[in-house]
């Protein structure tokens, strides 16, 4: 097994509880995202990331024959985007995620260490 896992994947779910917000409040929320992202970038943690469109297709079964539109997960569960960051360890990665504005809107961030496969493991 690889020993070092220094890159992490943030998976954003939900955070859609904003229907009652006014345009001005939404803009403040936006600013909070910019501030958080800016900090990740400024401190060199940011590697990449993107938002996802709503919906898509889900393939299952043998040869992916069963294709459904979706995912139609509940708003709370739907993945809205991802981010890749570097951190010393899982604890630091989790700590960095705490500043994410998604928590103000009932969302969640899943932090997963990305496994780096070394060359010999790949060959095997």
């Amino acid at each position: 097994m690889s020993t070092e896992s220094k890159t992490f994947l943030y998976i954003f779910r939900g955070g859609r509880d904003m229907n009652e917000m006014s345009p001005e409040e939404l803009q403040q929320n936006m600013d909070a995202w910019f501030a958080w992202m800016g900090e990740l970038k400024g401190k060199g943690h940011f590697i990449g990331g993107e938002p996802l469109h709503d919906g898509g297709k889900v393939l299952r079964g043998k040869n992916g024959q069963s294709i459904t539109d979706g995912p139609f997960a509940e708003g709370k569960e739907e993945v809205g985007g991802y981010l890749i960051v570097t951190a010393r360890d899982l604890d630091e990665a989790a700590e960095l995620a705490k500043g994410c504005p998604i928590f103000q809107n009932d969302g969640s961030v899943e932090v997963r260490p990305i496994q780096k496969m070394s060359a010999d493991q790949k060959a095997a």
Binding site: R16, P23, E24, N29, M30, W33, F34, K41, P51, G81
Partner: protein, 422 residues
């Protein structure tokens, strides 16, 4: 897209919200204003969900407008009894001469959309308080909480007001047209009155959150400028209203000191007056003189200009101000105008004459509950050396205001009346 360039222009969402609603209301019809607002909200939510991670698009306005159109189409497709509108809507979006939002034509279109919506929101068939709330909600992108803060009202009360307005909109056939011919004058007058109300709500220092109030003034001016750019609204009266708003707004920053204490006109630092806004006001004032109409707006703009034109408080042309108030009171016999006129009288003919003028105001009952009345009377007494009467007046005024900055101001004046200060 680069998440580096992440600072939105102040109030961008609010501004864009107003534009989106104006465009969508035109597409869907004024009776479906709520749908337009829903689509706008959805577009902004999408922006928040994607810009945070993906960065701000190169042209945020164009992005929002495109998404808002798609959201409107989604809404129409979702609602069964509305699906027939889909073709109509697609055709509407396609026949807009410009699909590229960076063009001059686009700006003009959006301005006309907003103008139509102004005329509709300020339709005389809607109750005045609903007109103001509706204008703030749909054209200025204010939330109910923000409208409530501006009017020192509860969110529930504002919501109720808006619900009533929307019901009325569904029952009354109000179209999104720029009125023409004989109808225009009356409709324009209604719009000007609403903008004036909006501005005054922001300008008067009697209540509310300071920042929200300044926003109200700015919005009233912004909508006035949209109005004046179109031939239908480009009238001397509109220029007079704009002049009065700008010439007063230019002096807003000097009205209080750094701690938020209200300052008398004589105490204000005139260097804080905004010369650029003043110049804009003066330009509209000049243009308001075309034609032979002399409205209340003209007179109030004239009074505001007299203050702007005085390099020092001592240099104020109070005689001219008084003559303008004399004309104003012929048009508007409100006791509030009469109180302000009394202040001008005190500068020209002395405090005694001013007290006489106040004694002659009728009806006087409304004044009793008005803190400014007691403060002005107290001020005149103190100028005459009757500190006891002055103190009594300031105390009465103190009881009538809930705003801390006003209370602090009155306490300061009250302290000046106590003998130990002499």
């Amino acid at each position: 897209m680069d998440p580096e360039v992440n600072r939105l222009v102040d109030h961008l969402f609010r501004r864009e919200a107003g534009k989106m609603v104006a465009m969508l209301a035109r597409a869907l019809g004024f009776d479906h204003l709520q749908l337009a607002e829903d689509a706008m909200q959805e577009a902004l939510l999408k922006a928040v969900r994607t810009w945070g991670l993906g960065g701000v698009p190169r042209d945020p306005s164009a992005w929002l407008m495109r998404v808002a159109k798609n959201c409107a189409l989604d809404v129409v497709r979702r609602e069964t009894n509305f699906r027939r509108k889909e073709k109509e809507l697609v055709a509407f979006f396609e026949q807009r001469p410009s699909t590229r939002p960076d063009t001059f034509r686009f700006e003009e279109e959006i301005r006309d959309d907003q103008l139509r919506l102004i005329f509709a929101c300020c339709h005389p068939d809607l109750p005045p308080d609903a007109q103001v709330a509706l204008t703030l909600k749909s054209l200025c992108g204010f939330g109910e909480k923000e409208i409530a803060a501006a009017f020192l009202s509860s969110e529930a009360a504002i919501a109720k007001r808006l619900v009533r307005a929307r019901r009325k909109i569904r029952e009354t056939p109000i179209t999104l047209e720029i009125p023409v011919g004989e109808e225009l004058a009356a409709r324009l007058d209604a719009v000007l009155q609403t903008l004036y109300l909006l501005f005054n709500e922001g300008y008067k220092a009697s209540h509310g959150d300071d920042l929200v109030r300044r926003d109200l003034c700015e919005e009233a001016i912004r909508l006035g400028e949209i109005l004046v750019q179109h031939p239908a609204g480009n009238r001397p009266m509109t220029h007079a209203l704009l002049a009065l708003m700008l010439l007063n707004a230019a002096r807003l920053a000097a009205r209080a000191d750094a701690e938020g204490n209200i300052l008398l006109l004589a105490e204000q630092d005139r260097r804080l007056w905004d010369r650029a806004i003043m110049a804009r006001g003066l330009e509209h004032f000049r243009r308001s003189a075309a034609g032979n109409e002399l409205s209340e707006f003209h007179l109030q703009a004239g009074i505001a200009w007299c203050h702007c034109a005085a390099p020092t408080h001592e240099a104020t042309d109070w005689r001219r101000i008084l003559s303008l108030y004399d004309m104003l009171i012929e048009i508007n016999r409100s006791p509030v105008v009469a109180i302000n006129r009394a202040v001008a009288i005190s500068h020209v003919h002395g405090p005694e004459a001013a007290l006489d003028a106040i004694a002659a105001i009728s009806p006087r009952e409304v004044l009793e509950g008005y803190y400014l009345y007691h403060a002005v009377v107290a001020h005149l007494h103190s100028a005459l050396g009757d500190l006891e009467a002055a103190a009594a007046g300031f105390r009465r005024a103190l009881k009538l205001t809930a705003l801390t900055s006003e209370q602090a101001f009155l306490r300061r004046r009250l302290a000046e009346c106590s003998p130990s200060n002499q």
